[in-house]
């Protein structure tokens, strides 16, 4: 019984792992193919099934008509995502702390309504926001600029930061802040000296969400930019033309995934809530 269960369990896990990992392996394999290898049927193993070529990778950094400029969109994406994530995390953390520790009331509006207001911005379909954003950026002459995109991305990422951090702060006993104030801190001092240093796990999770959503956004990057400020997702899609260079596109996609994967590996160890151990019993 136990052995059969284990076999079924591991078969299921293997099937799921294959489903998840296969697209990456496919992209990796394709990035080392040339035009012939791509169009001559399903082949996956280099040297055995096809002769590997690095053209897909070199073309990303080559200049001239055969070259694809990856550096500029990469840097644009990095700038927009990092700036927007930092601003969102900063503002979101402060807002979340306020919502988790103080009671606000304006007419019928209370803390839970304010939190829902933040979240509701993510409930709306992006297309609803696209036209107002476009018009507003046009008005302040920020269309097709890093600045304009950062503003829009902050509006999109802030709800995520507020949501995650509100939930996280709710798990930190308020007696910890009270103790800091009893020990001589101002409310702001208690936040910076005691609450924030114990919020690493929440900040990492919120930060990761911001980076992922910001880095992978295609819709707003597509609507609000033209030629000056192209971001990675748009640049990847723009490779798709009458003759799609699947090898370059695969290499491009792998490069675009790499930063998030590296960050996830580095910050994974902070993503446990164990940092609060010893605060409260």
């Amino acid at each position: 019984m136990g052995r059969t269960y284990n076999i079924i369990k591991y078969l299921c896990l293997l099937a799921w792992a294959t489903f998840v990992v296969f697209p990456f392996l496919w992209a990796l394999s394709t990035s080392f193919k040339d035009a012939n290898a791509v169009t001559s049927g399903a082949r996956y193993i280099p040297w055995l099934e096809f002769e590997p070529s690095v053209e897909g990778w070199t073309s990303l950094f080559a200049s001239g008509s055969r070259g694809i400029n990856i550096v500029t969109p990469f840097m644009n994406s990095a700038s927009v995502t990092l700036l927007a994530s930092i601003v969102s995390l900063g503002l979101g953390t402060l807002a979340a702390y306020g919502l988790s520790r103080f009671s606000y009331k304006a007419g019928f509006i209370k803390n839970s309504d304010i939190t829902f207001f933040f979240i509701s911005q993510r409930i709306m379909p992006p297309i609803v926001l696209a036209i107002p954003f476009f018009l507003m950026l046009k008005e302040i002459q920020a269309l097709d600029t890093i600045f304009g995109l950062v503003i829009v991305y902050v509006a999109l990422l802030l709800p995520i930061a507020v949501w995650v951090m509100t939930d996280f702060f709710a798990s930190i006993p308020k007696e910890l802040d009270e103790m800091a104030m009893i020990d001589g801190c101002t409310p702001i001092g208690a936040f910076f000296r005691v609450v924030l240093p114990n919020s690493t796990a929440g900040l990492v999770v919120a930060g990761m969400f911001c980076l992922i959503f910001g880095w992978n956004d295609f819709f707003f990057a597509f609507i609000l930019t033209f030629t000056e400020t192209q971001l990675l997702p748009v640049a990847i899609v723009s490779l798709n033309s009458s003759v799609t260079p699947w090898w370059s596109l695969s290499a491009f996609a792998l490069i675009s995934v790499t930063p998030l994967a590296l960050i996830a590996i580095v910050v994974e160890r902070f993503m446990s809530r164990g940092s609060l151990a010893g605060a409260f019993r």
């Binding site: 006993p173 007696e175 910890l176 009893i182 001589g184 101002t186 005691v194 240093p197 010893g278």
Partner: protein, 352 residues
Amino acid sequence: MLTLKNLSTAHRKRPLHNLSANLESGKIYTILGRTGAGKTELLRTVMGLDDISDGRLELDGQDLVKRPVRKRQMSMVYQQFINYPHLTVLKNVAFPLRRQGQSVSDANERALAALKLVGLAGFEDRMPAELSGGQQQRVAIARAIVKKARILLMDEPLANLDYKLREKLREEFPRLLAQNADGIILYSTTEPAEAMQLGHEMIVMHEGRILAKAAPEEIFEMPATVEVAKLISDPPVSIVDGTIVDGKLLLGGTALHSITDLKLPKDGSVQVGIRPDALSVGGDTPAKVVLAEFSGSDTIVHLSLEFGAAVMLVEGIHEFTPDQTISVSLDTSSLLIFSAEGENITERHSDG
């Protein structure tokens, strides 16, 4: 002196109602009450963590209400072991001193002395999570006493510790609290023995009100009301209905003839408090055992008597089975007499 003048709060669950008391420097006040009596709310209000809805709170005649928490010259030990998880034990204890502007070396020196006092010398570089529950609470106590605050508030600091540790820390408390000998110490607890042992004065609370405030032995000897009588001992004083007829006390139709040292009130209904040690095995009063439990080296027997339910404390471990019928005797010298409304009207001949 800390003064509470008709102090009330609008706390959603456990509001305080019209509390008045003068608390003098150099004294330990133990606050005794059941869970939900308002003890924590009182401490939090004094600390400034919860708002006052009415009344005044003064320290040496100065209004405290508008003073921010950090400027109240108070420290607090929570029931939960609250420590800063990202700081070492030494930095935890030095934290309030550093906030006062003391240099790192001075703060560390005083923190080390406080840690030595609570028996944690050698643990300076540990993180709170690496300590046992008892040690974590010692860190919290060290941080509270290192400030030498005017007012030290302790909210059931032993409640979350196991029995042995509780006993040990309770024995150490008089020595530890001597650090704040010039200050006012408010110590809340649900355990009568703890309240009696530690307090110079005891404040008995129930449903957000102060029922009594006096020396522990005074409250124990002469509890002001039925509710106080129920709270001041464990096992509690049993309250049964009685009647005074022709100058005799009747419990359930049986007249108690042996009462010699009580001045009984005039005829009418009364409530009678029977201390758990006033009942003993052997005698002519039949009783049925409802439940027997062991507490340390004593046996607590819940009895059903003709005149009502009562608890008997028997020294030593004895076997009693539910529904067993036994004979008991009642020592009437320690009976407490309350009016039908619950006010203590006990008068003893020796009272003069």
